[in-house]
């Protein structure tokens, strides 16, 4: 078994804190094509720590594409060049020997850089807190067949619920808009009977908080759908628009 390695020049955004000035730092790496992108960064960090230097700060948790923690912009694309995967699922075999790889944090006014590649994404949590929930009665689990839901509708809701809240849509959008994220969260609940009691309030409040946090508006470039690791469809944005327009037309609430 030969130990083939590829040599890369990795340019990583280094920024000590939110208010300090950041810049790109070059790292020359020799890495196995079988290692993942995050493992490559781990190797750089091992080297840095051995030299008593500050390691690159980046986020990761599950490393299997389901938690949405590891978001990096690699060569201008959130989660790198391969569609429908998170950064942690990207492998070095997708790069060629001698390539230059640019690694940047997600950029948006609403996503401030905290350190190096870590950004503050609690804005997405604030949007969820504004309405991404349902009210349920406590008690035992309801019978599975008590509430008929067609397969088509449950599939649409599940497709929307696949959103892992990584923020790649915001990072990809030229306007740093969070519409795909919000639309997925609104859709998964608006489609199902459990989501009906808060249906109008939910969409009004979530869009309101989204706007307040400084996310941009949607230009329908559909870059978000192209970069989403879970392939969330922009049809959800159409549904969000529909829900929003109808909520404002139908509801009696003049405060929203």
């Amino acid at each position: 078994m030969t130990d083939i390695k590829i040599n890369l020049l990795v340019k990583v955004w280094r920024q000590p804190s939110t208010n300090s000035v950041g810049s790109f730092v070059d790292y020359k790496v020799s890495v196995s094509p079988d290692s993942s992108f995050l493992e490559m960064l781990d190797e750089i960090n091992n080297d840095l720590e051995m030299k008593n230097l500050e390691p690159i700060a980046f986020e990761s948790d599950c490393r299997e594409g389901i938690c949405g923690t590891c978001g990096l912009v690699i060569n201008g694309q959130p989660h790198g060049p391969i569609p429908k995967i998170a950064t942690c699922q990207l492998h070095m075999r997708n790069f060629k020997d001698g390539d230059t790889v640019w690694v940047e944090p997600f950029r948006a006014k609403a996503f401030q850089v905290m350190k190096d590649l870590i950004v503050e994404r609690s804005g997405l949590d604030k949007i969820i807190a504004a309405g991404g929930y349902i009210s349920v009665n406590t008690g035992s689990i309801p019978d599975a067949n008590a509430m008929p839901i067609s397969k088509d509708v449950s599939s649409l809701a599940m497709d929307a619920a696949a959103c892992i809240g990584c923020g790649a849509c915001v990072a990809a959008c030229k306007n740093a808009s969070a519409m795909l994220f919000v639309s997925a969260k609104v859709s998964q609940l608006a489609l199902l009977p459990q989501g009906q009691p808060e249906r109008t309030r939910r969409v009004q409040n979530m869009v309101k908080v989204m706007d307040e946090l400084g996310f941009g508006s949607c230009s329908n470039t559909y870059a978000c759908e192209a970069e989403c690791p879970k392939g969330i469809s922009v049809k959800n944005i159409a549904r969000l628009n529909r829900e929003f327009i109808l909520a404002h037309m139908k509801s009696d609430n003049i405060e929203a």
């Binding site: 060569n75 808009s177 989204m210 706007d211 470039t221 159409a238």
Partner: protein, 220 residues
């Protein structure tokens, strides 16, 4: 009425304004094109058509005011959205990967829109003002005036470039309006996208055909 202003000022509200005014302008262009194409029927027909519009001037003026408001809302909101969206990402990316995830036309609406705006100002200050407030008003030689204007190569080429830009703007705008209204599903959206493409090609080709025609026949 505060709730109405608030909802129209939200991110989705502003998009809805863009979509409604955009669709209105798309419909206006059809009427405008139909009028223009009568140029091909010769001086008598075209001059009669424009003259007949002159006879219902008060009605035309009302329509013009509404049209002006639609234009102003579309332009004002477009510039406002562009500015706000720019602020939403203060630090740009070192590597711009947008060509890998979106189409150029969808990302350049403000640029194509600006060119169309420059065209609009020139168009109003030449054709519209001449048709409404010059001697043409008495002589009714609109056809001859148009032929004369387009005998200028630079003016004709500027028109052709502006109309191709308009086609680019419409190609994204047409389907974008329907997406904003929430009308995107498997059955209709491919139809809307195709219709928008055909419409934008029709507008670019048909509007450009007039300066090309006058260039070819040499102004007469």
């Amino acid at each position: 009425m505060n709730w109405l202003f608030r909802s129209l000022n939200s991110s989705i509200g502003k998009k809805v304004i863009m979509a409604i005014t955009g669709i209105s302008l798309i419909l206006f262009l059809l009427v405008h094109l139909a009028n223009n194409l009568t140029l091909f029927a010769g001086p008598t027909t075209f001059n009669t058509v424009v003259k007949s519009l002159d006879s219902i001037k008060p009605f035309v003026r009302v329509i013009e005011v509404i049209l002006a408001l639609i234009f102003i809302f579309h332009i004002f909101n477009g510039v406002r959205l562009w500015y706000e969206n720019k602020i939403a990402r203060p630090t740009p990316y070192a590597v711009n990967g947008s060509s890998k995830n979106s189409s150029l036309l969808s990302r350049t609406m403000i640029q194509t829109g600006s060119i169309i705006f420059i065209f609009l100002v020139i168009h109003l200050s030449t054709f519209w003002s001449a048709f409404n407030f010059s001697d043409l008003h008495q002589t009714h030689t609109y056809y001859e005036f148009t032929a004369d204007m387009f005998s200028n190569v630079y003016y004709a080429i500027f028109y052709i470039i502006a109309m191709i830009t308009l086609g680019f703007h419409l190609n994204h705008g047409f389907q974008s309006a329907f997406q904003t209204f929430g009308w995107n599903n498997k059955k209709y959206f491919p139809l809307i996208t195709t219709l928008g493409f055909l419409y934008s090609v029709l507008m670019a080709v048909a509007f450009s055909s007039i300066p090309i025609y006058f260039l070819l026949i040499g102004g007469n």
